[in-house]
Amino acid sequence: MSENNFDVVVVGGGPGGYVAAIRAAQLGLKTACVESRGSLGGTCLNVGCIPSKALLQSSHHFAAAQHEFAHHGIKFSKLEVDLAAMMARKDKVVSGLTKGIEGLFKKNKVTYIVGAGRLTAPGTIAVTGKDGEQTITAKSIIIATGSEVTPLPGVEIDEKHIISSTGALALGAVPKHMVVIGAGVIGLELGSVWRRLGAEVTVVEFLDRALPLNDGEVSKQMQRILEKQGIKFKMGTKVTAAKSHKGEVTLTLEPAKGGAAEEMKADSVLVAIGRRPFTNGLGLSELGVEIDNRGFVKVDGHFRTNVPGIYAIGDVIGGAMLAHKAEEEGVAIAEILAGQAGHVNYDVIPAVVYTHPEVASVGRTEEQLKADGVAYKSGKFPFMANSRARAIDDADGFVKILADAKTDRILGAHIIGPMAGDLIAEVVMGMEFGAAAEDIARTCHAHPGLGEAVKEAALAVDARAIHM
């Protein structure tokens, strides 16, 4: 029975789970990872981050060819999209990466068990695979089962015409009119993909602005840019019903504040209002593992649930539902279980939106600082004034750095522009070290580089930008 007894069993093989498993194995713990999907990498690798980024890149190329190549003096006669080939490439990227995780498991001697895990008793998991059920035991169990699409009452997802992000990543044809319900990260990214490929896209949002969790200035700018790209926005509106008939969906829309309803027709409706924790079939309630009223597993500062020996990380415990946040937690819990002091700095977790231009942020927004009564200074620098951005003809957007008015400590940064998701890393690093805006300003940045916009924004905090 010893081959079924482990130090650590991770239930869920997504970014949180597989990273926790690899780290635990690195630290010498006998580790197993249970995943029912049939491939590792979770939502992220299979139906989330990776496939969407692959399609975003492919569709971006197409849009660039259509709208930008002429500026560069590049002419061609016929331009068309082979959607099947585009999807095939995306699939290849995904399978390559998921197989890569399997390879990492082998390398680190993590036992990969394919099947659905159910906690039957503290320290005991029943795994139901295609070959039947087996029982494994563990000193510590880490729940990393992630999240699923939040359904919208009245708009039932069939993944044909009323789809979730999963369906939106695998459409067989470019829709004529796609309605995206929800102007958050997922809605805007996938809406961008299909708009670029030729669909008419309307984004319907309950609140009054796109990207409601981002800095207000950034949200406004992003919406403006997407509108220029042809995406239509209907804000302050809720969708109450959807009727699918012969390939056409009729939606019932109402103002969020109440009022007269209206109808909108589309051949594709993407429900992207959010994600909710996934704990189906885990047996948590039988074991008495506490979850909160929104379904998230309750944990303390060390990822412990109320049941000794059972831990939880990632989307399933809430907080920022981001792959890299789950990864940080995976490393932390593995280190804690190995007797080390693992911890996550939640104040410095970046968030990226992979539209074009990209949006990246870390730390507090201006709205949050104002609400907390924190005195801050703001330094903003437009990419229009960055020589690299001008050279590559990709200069929409700005870098904004927020710093404490007294100590100059960086409290937050918000970037909308080319490569924002990568540019933010510097500020994240700085914040991790308690950097002042002046520290970034006094660090050498290569020229010509988009990173110089970050340096100039830091200078702008002190009202002494050079190139503006």
Binding site: D404, K406, T407, D408, R409, E432, F433, G434, A435, A436, E438, D439, R442, T443
Partner: protein, 401 residues
């Protein structure tokens, strides 16, 4: 060919001075030995003469800055050389022995770049700043809050910011001069070290007044200096000191040092504070010698030209509060001396004479503050009585009686 203006030796145990005033500006022509800048130290104000003739081409240290002995204050170019245009005020030159090199990494982690800049600009000691950055790194905020605190740990020349009290329009804040600060220190030193007491007596000035009236014109004609009271008091004290040597002594460690010379300090008030030039070997000087020495010191003191050597090494001090109207007071010892005589205002008072009659006599109260560790009560009282006797009958000084 240019020459540097350098801070000269300032006297024993004085290692730094503050720039009080530049007499010349960049571009001015100076003659050799012409006073070019005034330095202020703990004890005295010193003028620095120009080392050569020429044009003052550079001022390297501004008024108010602190410099050490040997520091370069400015440059004199060859006569007729165009003055080098020195762009806007140069930041204070750091005293060499206190110069801060790149702030040391604290706990192995260097301060953040912004913090480093502030540390260097304010001559702070990085080791004394607690870092709140990752792994204890010093952040810009840490340095800013250190600068806000009144100078506790930083090097003496660090910018000590104003106390955090809101300004009151009814107040006027004047920073203590070096001299005043030093005087304050020494006063406290005296109080904290010696077992200080004061004994009083009074002296009838009738005989001395008469003597002075009789001889003062002829004295001045012969000796070229006025016959004041001080020569008599100095001589009276010397007489008494010879008889009560403990009053002229000094406690050094656990040794009583009895001195066989009589360097009498005579306190002089100046606008910038009390200074005590020393009349050397007062026992060997004539009355005229004592008077002219004191007169000379008085002028120098008012002009701020007393040297440090002129003010150190006294064995006993006489202070006269009477010129300001004081009737009686308890003077503080002039460390490291063991006693000080306080003279006061002469006032006509009704005195009972030997025959029982009452007469109005010009009386002066005398005070002797002394260090009881080295001088006992009997010695102090007897000393003062002796001074009184010599003043009331100056012939006693002549006859050593």
């Amino acid at each position: 060919m240019s020459t540097q203006i350098v801070v000269p030796a300032l006297g024993e145990s004085v290692s730094e001075a503050t720039i009080a005033k530049w007499f010349k500006q960049v571009g001015d022509i100076v003659a050799a030995d012409e006073p070019i800048v005034e330095l202020e130290t703990d004890k005295v104000t010193v003028e620095v003469p120009a080392p050569s003739a020429g044009t003052l081409s550079e001022i390297l240290v501004e008024t108010g800055a602190t410099v050490g002995v040997g520091a370069v204050l400015g440059v004199i170019g060859a006569a007729g050389a165009a003055a080098a245009v020195k762009p806007a005020a140069v930041a204070a030159v750091k005293v060499p022995e206190l110069a801060v090199a790149a702030p040391a990494a604290v706990g192995g982690h260097p301060p953040a770049p912004s913090a480093r800049k502030l540390i260097e600009e304010n001559s702070l000691d990085a080791a004394a700043i607690s870092g709140t950055g990752k792994d204890g790194r010093i952040t810009k905020g840490d340095v800013l809050s250190t600068l806000e605190k009144p100078a506790a740990a930083p090097a003496p020349v660090a910018a000590a910011p104003a106390a955090p009290r809101a300004p009151d329009v009814r107040e006027q804040r004047v920073k203590m001069t070096r001299l005043r600060k030093r005087i304050a220190e020494r006063l406290k030193e005296a109080q904290n070290t010696a077992a200080m007491l004061t004994t009083f007596n009074e002296v009838d000035m009738t005989a001395l007044n008469a003597l002075r009236s009789q001889y003062k014109d002829a004295f001045e004609k012969k000796h070229g200096t006025k016959l004041g009271f001080m020569s008599f008091f100095v001589k009276a004290c010397v007489t008494a000191l010879k008889e009560w040597p403990a009053v002229n002594g000094e406690l050094v460690g656990d040794e009583l040092v009895y001195k066989n010379f009589y360097d009498i300090g005579v306190a002089v008030g100046t606008p910038s504070g009390l200074v005590v030039p020393v009349v050397r070997e007062a026992d060997k000087l004539s009355f005229a010698g004592v008077e002219s020495t004191i007169a000379g010191y008085g002028k120098k003191a008012r002009d701020g030209k007393l040297t440090i050597d002129e003010m150190t090494g006294g064995t006993f001090t006489i202070s006269n509060g009477g010129v300001y109207g004081s009737l009686m007071s308890t003077p503080i010892l002039n460390t490291p001396q063991s006693a000080i005589l306080g003279m006061h205002k002469t006032m006509l008072r009704p005195m009972v004479m030997a025959d029982g009659s009452i007469q109005a006599r010009p009386m002066m109260y005398l005070a002797l503050s002394y260090d009881h560790r080295i001088i006992d009560g009997r010695e102090a009282v007897s000393f003062l009585v002796r001074v009184k006797e010599c003043i009331e009958d100056p012939q006693r000084i002549l006859l050593d009686m």
